[in-house]
C-alpha cells in the first residue's frame, strides 16, 4: 500500500506543479495559426509571428485592442481577434510565438537586395533617409519592442511602409509613420526585398 501511495503522491505533485504552457494545439494558439500559419510563418495578409520579439507582439496586440493601429487588414481581422484576449493571455501568446523558429520569406526582388542592404545599413543621408539598422539592428533582429524585420515577407513590409506614408497609424510612440513618409517607392521596394532574404 505504502509504495503505491507514494507513487501516486509523486504523480500528483508533478501534475499540480506543471506550468500551463501553450502548445500548438491550444485553442488560443489555434486562433492565431488559422491565419498566421501552422508554424507561425505567416500567410498572405498575416505576417510571420515566429521568432518575433515578444514585447513587439504584445505592443501590437495592445494597439489592436486600443484601435491605434488602423490599417485595413488590422481593422478587418485583428481588432476582432483580440477583442476577447486578456493581456495575460496576450503575453503568453507573444512568448509562445517568439520561440518558434523563423524562416525567411525569400519573396523579394533579388535584383534589389544589394541596394536594399546598403540603404538598410546606412540610409541615404543626402535624401534624409535614416539607417534602419540604427534601431532594428545590424541583422534586422530587433530589440525590446522594436520588431525583428529579418525574413519578413516583402509584400508585408512594403505594404506597411506604404501605409504609414499614406497616413495610417502605428502603435503609440512609434517613429515609423514619420520615417516611412520620407521613403520613395523604389527605396521601399529595395529595403523590403533585402529584408525578405535576411535569416
Amino acid at each position: 500500500m505504502k509504495p503505491v501511495r507514494s507513487k501516486v503522491a509523486v504523480v500528483l505533485v508533478i501534475v499540480a506543479s506543471a506550468v500551463p504552457a501553450l502548445a500548438d494545439d491550444t485553442e488560443s494558439v489555434r486562433n492565431c495559426t488559422w491565419c498566421h500559419g501552422a508554424s507561425g510563418q505567416g500567410y498572405s495578409p498575416a505576417p510571420r509571428l515566429a521568432g518575433q520579439r515578444p514585447q513587439y507582439i504584445e505592443s501590437q496586440l495592445k494597439s489592436f485592442s486600443e484601435h491605434t493601429r488602423d490599417d485595413p487588414f488590422s481593422r478587418q481581422y485583428m481588432w476582432g481577434a483580440v477583442a476577447a484576449l486578456s493581456p495575460r493571455m496576450g503575453r503568453a501568446l507573444a512568448i509562445h510565438f517568439s520561440k518558434l523558429p523563423a524562416e525567411a520569406a525569400n519573396d523579394g526582388d533579388r535584383a534589389l537586395a544589394a541596394t536594399g542592404k546598403t540603404i538598410y545599413q546606412d540610409g541615404i543621408p543626402d535624401s534624409n533617409i535614416v539607417s534602419c539598422a540604427a534601431c532594428h539592428g545590424p541583422n534586422a533582429e530587433g530589440v525590446r519592442d522594436i520588431p525583428r524585420l529579418g525574413g519578413l515577407s516583402y509584400f508585408y513590409v512594403k505594404r506597411r511602409l506604404k501605409q504609414w506614408g499614406e497616413g495610417y497609424h502605428a502603435a503609440a510612440a512609434s517613429p515609423m509613420p514619420r520615417i516611412a513618409s520620407t521613403l520613395p517607392p523604389n527605396v521601399i521596394d529595395a529595403i523590403a526585398s533585402y529584408l525578405s532574404f535576411v535569416k
Binding site: 545599413q121 546606412d122 540610409g123 543621408p125 543626402d126 534624409n128 535614416v130 539607417s131 539598422a133 540604427a134 534601431c135 532594428h136 539592428g137 545590424p138 533582429e141 530587433g142 530589440v143 525590446r144 522594436i146 517613429p175 514619420r178 520615417i179 520620407t182
Partner: protein, 214 residues
C-alpha cells in the same frame, strides 16, 4: 641639404596656409531654410522629436541643450574618423560646416525632460562620484569640468539628462571609439585616463545620476 630644408619649409608653409584658410573660410553655405528644416527633422528621426534621445538597437544620445562647440567638434570627429561610428559618419560627412553650425544652434535650444529609465538606487552613489570624484583611483570630480549642474561649457559636453546606457557605453569604450587618429590627437584624450580608472559599476552609478538631471 639646404634645398631639402627649403622644400620642407615650403610644404609646411603651404599646409599652414591651406589649413588656416579652411578654418577661416565659410566653406559651403548652410542649406536653404527648407533644406535645413528637413535636415533637422532627419536628425530627430533618430535622436527624438525634441532631441531627447531614443533607445534603438543602440542607445541614441540626447542632443537637446548640448554645448554647440562640443556638438560641432563631434561632427568633425566623426567626419575625420577620429571618432568611429558608422551611422554618424554616414550622416555627417555630407554636411557643410555652416549646416553643422546651424544644427548645433538648433539643438542647443531644446530642453525636453530626460528620457529616464535608470535605476534610482544608483543615484546617490553616482552623485557622490560626480561631486567628489574617486580619490583612491585619481578620478577627478566630474563637476570640476562639466559643471555642478552637468550642463558643460564650450567644448566640454552637457551630461545632464543624457541616456544612462549611452553614458555607460561611451565611457567603457572610450579609447576604442575616440581619439583614433594617433597622428591627430584631439580633446577626447582628456577623458581617456578617467574612463580607464573607473569601474563599470562606478560608471553606471554616475550615468544613472546624470540621466535624471535636468
Amino acid at each position: 641639404m639646404k634645398v631639402m630644408r627649403l622644400q620642407l619649409a615650403l610644404q609646411i608653409a603651404i599646409l599652414a596656409i591651406v589649413f588656416s584658410a579652411a578654418g577661416r573660410a565659410e566653406g559651403a553655405p548652410a542649406l536653404s531654410r527648407g533644406g535645413l528644416q528637413a535636415k533637422i527633422e532627419y536628425c530627430k528621426n533618430c535622436h527624438g522629436l525634441s532631441g531627447q534621445g531614443y533607445r534603438g538597437f543602440f542607445p541614441i544620445p540626447r542632443l537637446a541643450g548640448q554645448q554647440t562647440e562640443y556638438f560641432e567638434n563631434q561632427l568633425r570627429a566623426f567626419i575625420e574618423r577620429r571618432r568611429e561610428n558608422r551611422f554618424m559618419y554616414s550622416v555627417s560627412h555630407v554636411l557643410s560646416p555652416a549646416t553643422r553650425t546651424a544644427l548645433a544652434a538648433h539643438f542647443r535650444t531644446l530642453n525636453p525632460k530626460p528620457l529616464g529609465g535608470a535605476s534610482r538606487q544608483l543615484v546617490a552613489a553616482g552623485r557622490k562620484i560626480y561631486d567628489e570624484g574617486i580619490p583612491e583611483t585619481n578620478v577627478p570630480a566630474c563637476l570640476a569640468c562639466h559643471g555642478p549642474d552637468a550642463k558643460g561649457h564650450e567644448a566640454i559636453p552637457r551630461l545632464a539628462g543624457q541616456l544612462h546606457d549611452y553614458i555607460l557605453s561611451k565611457l567603457v569604450n572610450w579609447t576604442k571609439e575616440r581619439g583614433l587618429d594617433s597622428s591627430n590627437p584631439d580633446t577626447s584624450t582628456v577623458m581617456a585616463a578617467t574612463s580607464h580608472a573607473m569601474t563599470r559599476s562606478q560608471v553606471a552609478a554616475v550615468a544613472a545620476y546624470l540621466s535624471f538631471q535636468h
